[in-house]
């Protein structure tokens, strides 16, 4: 039985140039239909006992921008969720929030509904970078926003993006320092990627956006690891840093290979080794659910070995890497039996280390993690 659930809230004020998530911009009018459809999709969660509810350790509302919904709409959303789910003792409930949406009223409503973790889309403390990223807040808003959130919810994570066109290492270090100075409980540091179909993709092709050179990106990634560490953070995943005990339990479930449910357009779940993905268009998803059809459009049942290899890819993101016993238990494969030659090769290149506990990326391996993971797939 899954103990984690994700809900995708696909509304934004504006689609940022780099974003390829499933969402609609400027279509808040669809929120009502969305909430009705979501309620219907949630019907597939069969409770363990009639009238009972499924117990969750983690619940995550992501987007899009969940805080795009207004107060009553948020209430409806939580109501729909908690008619099927109840929270276990000490459960983690996260909501992604856009800084400019934060108001005392909103925070109060979230906290009252049981939200105990907020992930703020701060992205940068460099005004120029924020403009490039097409975000609607200013760096100077953030201290006040944080204070508002903390009045009710103390577990706050900040999302930061580096390697923004025009940004240099200095600017990124300044962003990291500004973020750390606000003493959040968690930081997520993302290198900007250019996805096919986004405005950034074509602007880069036209030469309007120029990505920083590889060496500079490398230095930024190094800073993203070193600065938080110096401030007492623990890097528990390639781009995640937490104060002790503040790791995001929901995301960890993904990287550990745990089952999870997922709702809303574009969301993908993993139940008993089968991954099913919802229709990726907001309207497509709506229509399917409204017509009483399944919202799933893809089903992936990997062969045991492929599943094991995929788990290697996920586990390696974690600082503890692939843990021998856990891996064998989950997949039925001994890690060395599956990957010995490749492991030795990556080890000789200095990208992984092995010991009794398992296999981990080295610091050098983190810089080139994609290549290392590809070698194991």
């Amino acid at each position: 039985m899954h103990r984690s659930a994700y809900t995708h809230v696909p509304f934004c004020r504006h689609r940022c140039g780099y974003c390829d998530f499933t969402l609609v911009a400027g279509r808040d009018d669809l929120a009502g239909r969305y909430l009705t459809a979501l309620d219907q999709e949630l019907n597939r969660v069969a409770p363990p006992t009639p009238g009972g509810r499924v117990e969750l350790d983690t619940l995550f509302l992501g987007g899009g921008t969940p805080t795009r919904l207004d107060g009553p709409q948020l209430d409806r959303l939580f109501d729909a969720l908690f008619r099927r789910y109840r929270l276990a003792e000490g459960a983690e409930v996260t909501v992604e929030a856009n800084p400019s949406d934060i108001t005392p009223d909103l925070v109060g409503r979230l906290a009252d509904a049981g939200v105990n973790r907020v992930s703020l889309g701060v992205q940068s403390f460099d005004a120029a970078a924020l403009t490039t990223l097409e975000r609607d807040h200013a760096p100077t808003d953030i201290p006040r926003v944080l204070e508002t959130v903390r009045r009710r919810i103390d577990n706050v994570s900040l999302d930061l993006i580096y390697a923004v066109p025009g940004q240099d290492l200095r600017s990124w270090e300044a962003t990291l320092d500004a973020a750390l100075a606000l003493e959040p409980s968690h930081l997520s540091t993302y290198g900007l990627t250019f996805e096919k179909g986004t405005a950034f993709w074509s602007r880069r092709r036209r030469g309007e956006l120029i990505t920083p050179p590889e060496e500079s990106e490398r230095a930024m990634y190094a800073a993203a690891m070193d600065r938080p560490a110096a401030a007492g953070f623990h890097q528990y995943e390639l781009s995640s840093h937490a104060r002790p005990g503040r790791e995001c339990r929901h995301n960890r479930a993904y990287w550990c290979g745990d089952d999870f449910e997922a709702f809303g357009p574009g969301a993908a779940n993993l139940i008993d080794g089968v991954r099913r993905t919802n229709h990726r268009g907001v309207l497509g998803w709506l229509k399917r659910v409204e017509a009483g059809e399944s919202s799933w459009v893809e089903e992936e049942r990997l062969a045991p070995e492929d599943r094991a290899r995929e788990l290697v890819m996920l586990n390696l993101r974690r600082t503890e890497g692939v843990e021998r016993e856990d891996f064998q238990q989950r997949t039925g494969f001994a890690i060395e039996g599956l990957l010995l030659g490749d492991l030795e090769e990556q080890e000789s290149l200095g990208f992984v280390t092995r010991d009794d506990a398992g296999v981990r990326l080295t610091r050098e391996g983190r810089f080139v993690a994609d290549g290392v993971m590809a070698a194991f797939l």
């Binding site: 994700y6 995708h8 992501g62 540091t189 993302y190 290198g191 990627t193 590889e214 060496e215 990106e217 490398r218 990634y221 390639l238 781009s239 995301n251 993904y254 990287w255 999870f260 997922a262 574009g266 969301a267 993908a268 779940n269 993993l270 991954r275 993905t277 992936e300 995929e310 890819m313 996920l314 993101r317 090769e345 290149l349 990208f351 983190r366 810089f367 080139v368 993690a369 994609d370 290549g371 290392v372 993971m373 590809a374 070698a375 797939l377």
Partner: protein
């Protein structure tokens, strides 16, 4: 059929002067095809031919033509390719004929292959009918062209026929000239059978089609025939002609052209140039046959998937049956495994064989850079030829390293003589002669190392002369030169398939270029890859492909997992058209980059 009413002729010309288009018209005017069946360059039926708009293989068609004298004639037409690489097809076709239509473009006039093909026809003592084609063009130089025909080729311009193959103008004149001027074939119908095998083709249902031109005797269905050189006997299960579709007939007599089907499935039993006779009443002597074509360039062809080796062998055998100028022999490479050393008449021929193997036969290939044949004389006095740079012995044992030399004729306008002379000088050419074809055009003759012309001279010529210059070449012998083998090391390991033979004076330059090219073609890896060019043990050039310094995608949450996995898997699969050496993936393109002489 009485040989008096048979005419056998080839259509020859410089590339694109309209041979296939004229063949269309001859088919149409004699009723071999109807207006409705008509399509342009109907005889060019290979995919590569349609795609490139050129003829690659000679094609034979039997036409029935009712002449003004009231008699019906059988005209056996052979449409030939014009590109220099396929000159061998032309000579072979001419050997089956008594005459030739020599087409000359009414604007372009006599070009390099016009000269080469006219001489080939003259050598075989054929009746040549000059045909000025494309008279419909808005700008023509018909009088100049006729003068060139006279002065350059020594042919009588007064008998020239003027046509437009495209518009179908004066095709009747052409047909009349064929009947009236080309001699009828000789040969007694009751003599012992002698038929020249000039082509063959494999058909998976019917077996091997043997294409023959009868010199003497008669062949019928049910006869038992013998291949005189091959030595095997077979029963004839079908005979016929192409008109242009396959059409069965009762018998073939002297002078006729057609096919014989015996149900042979073994590809090695039919050889082009062999003579077919009757098993019961064999001819005393085989026909002269053909000179084996000389392959000009060689390259390695390896299946990308090593398991396809046997399949590739079968496919090469089938292709060789239909293209006797292509040769192949098994070879192995440390780098590429089991494959074949293949010989070709030129670069276009090489490209076409590769394309036919890949598209018609569905095998993915890795191809190494082509090279010419070299001759080595060792200190011990041993002399031998090599067609693979890997076979160059230690420099210490070589007495003389010789390369093939070609005589090259360029035909171009006077303004372009200077730049071409410069190009030839850069490529170690030796000037021979200039001959003026008229007030503005000249034929320039050089002797150049074959290796300096065969890969890209044609392209260079086209760019220097804005497309107007043409060239033709012929290998005349071997000559000693200061040649060395250049090895390429990738990450410290010699990649045998990247070795080349270069002239010493140019070695450093080529080494640098090649390392730069390879740096461009080989993508970044998880580690640094040094690329070195070396002669003997001496490194002459070096480049380094740096390792990935940062290659990590930050996000990977629930919805991204399978996408991410697929993306990484795809990156892995992108390497399909590559071979790995040690741990370095080298793409197909890199092997050919050895060829490039561009500066960048």
């Amino acid at each position: 059929m009485d040989p008096r009413f048979i005419r056998n002729f080839s259509i020859v010309a410089h590339i694109d002067h309209g041979k296939s288009t004229l063949a269309d018209q001859l088919l149409l005017k004699t009723g071999a095809i109807t207006e409705r069946e008509f399509k342009e360059q109907l005889l060019d039926d290979l995919d590569v031919e349609k795609e490139r708009g050129i003829t690659v293989k000679a094609r034979t068609v039997a036409l029935r033509y009712k002449h003004t004298d009231g008699e019906t004639y059988e005209l056996n037409l052979i449409d030939t390719p014009g590109h220099v690489d396929f000159h061998y097809e032309v000579s072979r076709s001419l050997a089956a004929c008594e005459g030739a239509l020599l087409l000359v473009d009414a604007f372009q006039g006599v070009q390099a292959q016009t000269v080469a093909n006219a001489y080939a026809a003259i050598e075989q003592d054929l009746e040549i009918i000059p045909v000025v084609n494309k008279i419909d063009l808005p700008v023509t130089r018909i009088d100049d062209v006729l003068e060139e025909v006279e002065t350059v080729l020594g042919l009588d311009p007064y008998g020239a026929v003027r046509v437009s193959a495209k518009k179908g103008l004066n095709i009747e004149d052409c047909l009349a000239a064929i009947v009236e001027r080309i001699p009828a074939p000789q040969g007694a119908p009751d003599a012992p059978l002698r038929a020249l095998v000039f082509d063959s083709k494999y058909d998976s249902y019917k077996g091997v089609f043997t294409y023959v031109r009868l010199k003497e005797g008669t062949v019928k269905k049910g006869d038992t025939i013998r291949f005189m050189r091959g030595g095997s006997d077979h029963d004839v299960i079908e005979i016929g002609q192409f008109a242009p579709l396959r059409k069965e007939c009762k018998s073939l007599g002297p002078g006729q052209v057609g096919y014989i089907l015996t149900g042979i499935k073994e590809l090695d039993q039919v050889t082009i140039g062999d003579t077919v006779t009757h098993a019961g009443r064999p001819a005393a002597e085989a026909l002269p046959g053909y000179q084996k074509p000389k392959q000009m360039v060689f390259c390695g062809m390896y299946p990308i998937d090593g398991r396809d080796f046997e399949k590739l062998r079968d496919e090469m055998q089938k292709l060789a049956l239909n293209d006797s100028s292509f040769s192949y022999a098994p070879e192995t490479s440390d780098a590429l495994g089991f494959g074949f050393r293949c010989g070709f008449l030129g670069m276009l021929h090489m490209e076409i064989v590769q394309q036919r193997l890949e598209s018609e036969q569905d095998v993915d290939l890795i191809q190494t850079a082509p090279n010419v044949t070299y001759e080595i004389e060792e200190r011990s006095g041993d002399v031998y030829k090599i067609d693979n740079p890997q076979d160059v012995p230690d420099a210490g044992v070589i007495e003389e390293f010789r390369e093939p030399i070609a005589r090259v004729n360029f035909i171009l306008s006077k303004d372009h003589i200077g730049p071409i002379m410069q190009l030839c000088a850069d490529r170690r050419g030796e000037y021979k002669n200039t001959e003026y074809l008229g007030p503005d055009r000249a034929q320039l003759t050089y002797e150049l190392p074959l290796a300096e012309i065969v890969y890209d001279m044609y392209d260079k010529l086209k760019s220097v002369t804005s497309g107007y210059g043409t060239m033709d070449y012929e290998v005349i012998g071997f000559k000693a030169a200061d040649l060395v083998k250049m090895d390429i090391m990738v990450k410290g390991e010699r990649v045998d398939a990247l070795a080349t033979i270069v002239h010493k004076s140019n070695a450093d330059n080529r080494g640098r270029q090649l390392c730069k090219r390879l740096k461009k073609e080989i993508s970044k890896h998880q580690f640094e890859i040094p690329i070195q060019a070396a002669i003997g043990g001496r490194i002459i050039a070096r480049e380094t492909i740096s390792a990935f310094r940062k290659n990590v995608t930050a996000k990977c949450y629930g919805g991204d997992i399978s996408r991410k996995r697929k993306l990484l898997q795809k990156q892995k699969e992108g390497k399909k058209r590559m071979r790995s050496f040690g741990s370095v993936e080298i793409p197909q393109k890199a092997f050919l980059s050895v060829l490039s002489t561009d500066e960048d």
